[in-house]
């Protein structure tokens, strides 16, 4: 599957809204918004985000493994855009590995 960055952003936003339990017209997600402080995700919500991303994009998108390499301060500072970049990087890495 090939996914453009715009598609990834939309898919990630849909995931975040689903986990937060909000409708698209209730919250406009922007790339620079932090997942915890601005969108209000708790760490247990990130577990649900991890599962949904793997379901939408495939098991190669392993957010938990990615976060496990980060400091707690970087996890807290993670933005929606940072999450999109992570997904795109994981998909690109997977495509390179397939070649």
């Amino acid at each position: 599957m090939t996914t453009s960055r715009t598609d990834t952003f939309d898919e990630v936003c849909a995931t975040l809204r689903d986990v937060l339990g909000v409708e698209p017209d209730e919250i406009e997600i922007e790339r620079e918004m932090s997942l915890t402080d601005e969108l209000g995700l708790e760490s247990i919500d990130l577990v649900a985000v991890n599962a949904q991303l793997a379901e939408r994009f495939g098991p190669q998108v392993n957010l938990a493994a990615h976060l496990a390499e980060m400091d707690i301060d970087d996890v807290i500072a993670l933005t929606a855009g940072g999450l999109v970049d992570f997904v795109d990087d994981a998909l690109a890495h997977d495509r390179r590995a397939e070649r």
């Binding site: 915890t36 402080d37 708790e42 247990i44 577990v47 649900a48 938990a64 976060l67 707690i72 807290i76």
Partner: protein, 261 residues
Amino acid sequence: MGQAQINGISTHYQRIPATGSDGPAPTVVCVHGIGYDSLASFYLTIASPVAEAGVDVLTYDLRGHGRTERPATGYLLADFIDDLRGLLDTLEVTRPVHLVGNSYGGTIAFAFAARYPDRVASIVSIESEPPTQQWSDKMGTTFRNVVEAMSDEQNIAWVGETFGSHYARLTRAASAVIAATTIVDEVAAGPLLAADGLAAIRCPVLSIVGSEGFQSDDLGAVAAMLPDCRTEVIDGQNHSVLVERHLLVRKLLLGWLAEHA
């Protein structure tokens, strides 16, 4: 993600299967602490890398925490032990497991090992103590002090200004658990272990403590009360060993499993 009915409580758990392993993999069961903790403390730090090292990882939200149901009462240590037993039985985990407990989760691990010694291969305790009378006194005092501090909105504002809004939100979340349940009254009540109970913890134990953490008054206290315990001290570290030093915890855990799995 899984949700299982354990002792009448809808319980959220996560299993991360071992990868890159031939033959039966050892099982690590991660037990988090109380208050604002949840399985996320393990899931987002050490679970994936440990699974990639060939270990089955199981972690779950304690009753009243994370995505597990929150009953108004039933927070004695005996309830948490029954829940762990029920979860292992329900998921058909019958071989002895390696319990990794953070803070109160470690206390649950010690109590479980004393009651069911044949079901525990080893314990990795992170900033934890077995449930002795001394532990109960210290835990009760600490918990009451924390509750009193959290009841003052000015203190929560201070947490936000000092450590960031994320931590202020966590503090409010812990306040919600405390306000909605009898956890404060029950959690330090035991049942407690005396000398014979401690002697029943026959499995090898790795006690990881921060030099400025919950055991700062006596860093070797846990090792002194158990038959087979090694202590690792992390200099300059407070109680938040798992979250703030998870890379080191992972290294210690994988080394421990290489020795004992």
